[in-house]
């Protein structure tokens, strides 16, 4: 028995210059906010961007960007619709707003299927919004996608930092490239994040402050781009992409 889908995945991504998973181990640290708004900033700047939401239990990128009423086209595969210049792929096209009680093995199979049938075309960068944890999703993108890079998000919180360090440790052991660590929701200037990751020799990309009005901008791209969150993120992102 062979799974024919495994062999085609890297072919589907051959015209994608960079593939970056936004991850961090912990939930609720801003992975989806950072993934989707990074895609938005890069698209605004003229880059060809794809965004793939791989959090099947709690897909969020479409909520943050206010994406509704679009659907992929079926051709010799499926072609993600373009929204704000972003080619956007998510389980929501198939799951709607329903609960998705998928076990790990199903998550794995669904990820493989999405990667095998989605025609991204040529992209400067494909951003993946990862679920929390170091389970099926992260293990699958690592094993299936050559040239996978990780952007690691964390907060100052002790709980988040501990989980983040475990993920970084695993990625380093496996030799997977880490773009860097981004601290989110900074409340205090004095942060221990930089010190905590020092010995991993992973770049610190910067910090985004806790933005009390960010939540109110969710779902409205114009408002988002005006937020402190987006302005700080944009700077960090442009630093990486120029």
């Amino acid at each position: 028995m062979m799974d024919p889908r495994l062999g085609i995945i890297n072919k589907r991504l051959e015209n994608v210059k960079r593939i970056i998973a936004v991850s961090g181990g912990k939930g609720g640290i801003g992975k989806s906010s950072i993934a989707s708004i990074t895609a938005l900033c890069l698209s605004k700047k003229g880059y060809k961007v794809g965004l793939l939401d791989l959090d099947f239990s709690g897909p969020s990128s479409h909520i943050i960007l206010g994406i509704e009423g679009v659907y992929p086209e079926e051709e010799k595969g499926i072609i993600p619709p373009e929204v704000y210049g972003i080619r956007f792929m998510s389980i929501i096209y198939f799951a709607g707003n329903n609960p998705s009680p998928l076990r790990g093995n199903d998550v794995s199979n669904a990820i493989v299927e999405l990667l095998a049938i989605t025609l991204w075309g040529s992209l400067d960068v494909l951003i993946m919004d990862m679920p929390p944890g170091i389970g099926d999703a992260i293990l699958d993108v690592i094993r299936l996608i050559k040239r996978m890079e990780f952007l690691i998000v964390t907060t100052q919180s002790k709980v988040a930092t501990e989980v983040m360090k475990k993920e970084v440790k695993m990625l380093k052991e496996l030799g997977i490239p880490i773009v860097g660590v981004l601290e989110n929701m900074r409340i205090r200037e004095l942060s221990s994040v930089e010190k905590e990751i020092e010995h991993f020799k992973v770049p610190m990309l910067g910090a985004i402050d806790f933005d009390t009005i960010f939540e109110d901008t969710i779902g409205d791209v114009d408002k988002i781009l005006e937020s402190g969150f987006a302005k700080q993120l944009q700077k960090i992102v442009y630093n990486q992409f120029t």
């Binding site: 028995m1 062979m2 799974d3 024919p4 889908r5 495994l6 062999g7 085609i8 072919k11 079926e74 051709e75 010799k76 595969g77 499926i78 389980i91 096209y93 198939f94 799951a95 709607g96 329903n98 609960p99 998705s100 009680p101 998928l102 076990r103 199903d106 998550v107 199979n109 669904a110 299927e113 999405l114 095998a116 049938i117 025609l119």
Partner: protein
């Protein structure tokens, strides 16, 4: 028509087999198509034929055997086994369409016929699999 993408994956796997095992050619491929994914066999065969040409595999389409595979779903709560076709009539068109793209969303739209749980294993008959590839060295 996304059957094309799956057909292509079968042919690309065959091409990889030739490379990896230093084969002269591929003489026979047995493909299983699971009932759950509701592949259109006409389109699938058509796609296989065309992709075969474009990859210049020098293999006859007649030597690609495509068989459908009945599905077996098994409830993890009560152990009941059933098949997709038995419960198909309870599904809306857009639900079967979604399962056609990502068979795992069956867990969203289908329930165990005995205990109504969404927690079942897809034991058999999920999507496209290669049962065997034979080639000459």
């Amino acid at each position: 028509m996304h059957e094309w993408a799956l057909a292509e994956s079968v042919i690309v796997t065959a091409v990889d087999e030739i490379k990896n095992n230093k084969l002269k050619n591929i003489s026979r491929i047995q493909v299983k198509v699971g009932e759950l994914q509701q592949i259109d066999l006409g389109i699938f065969r058509f796609a296989l034929e065309n992709v075969l040409k474009s990859y210049a595999l020098g293999m006859d389409i007649e030597n690609i055997i495509v068989e459908t595979d009945k599905s077996v779903l098994k409830c993890k709560v009560c152990g009941t086994e059933w098949s997709f076709s038995e419960t198909l009539n309870r599904l809306q068109d857009d639900e079967t369409e979604a399962i056609h793209f990502i068979p795992e969303v069956a867990h969203i739209y289908m329930r165990c016929p005995s205990c109504k749980s969404p927690d079942f294993d897809i034991i058999k008959g999920r999507g496209v699999w290669i049962d065997s590839i034979e080639g000459e060295t």
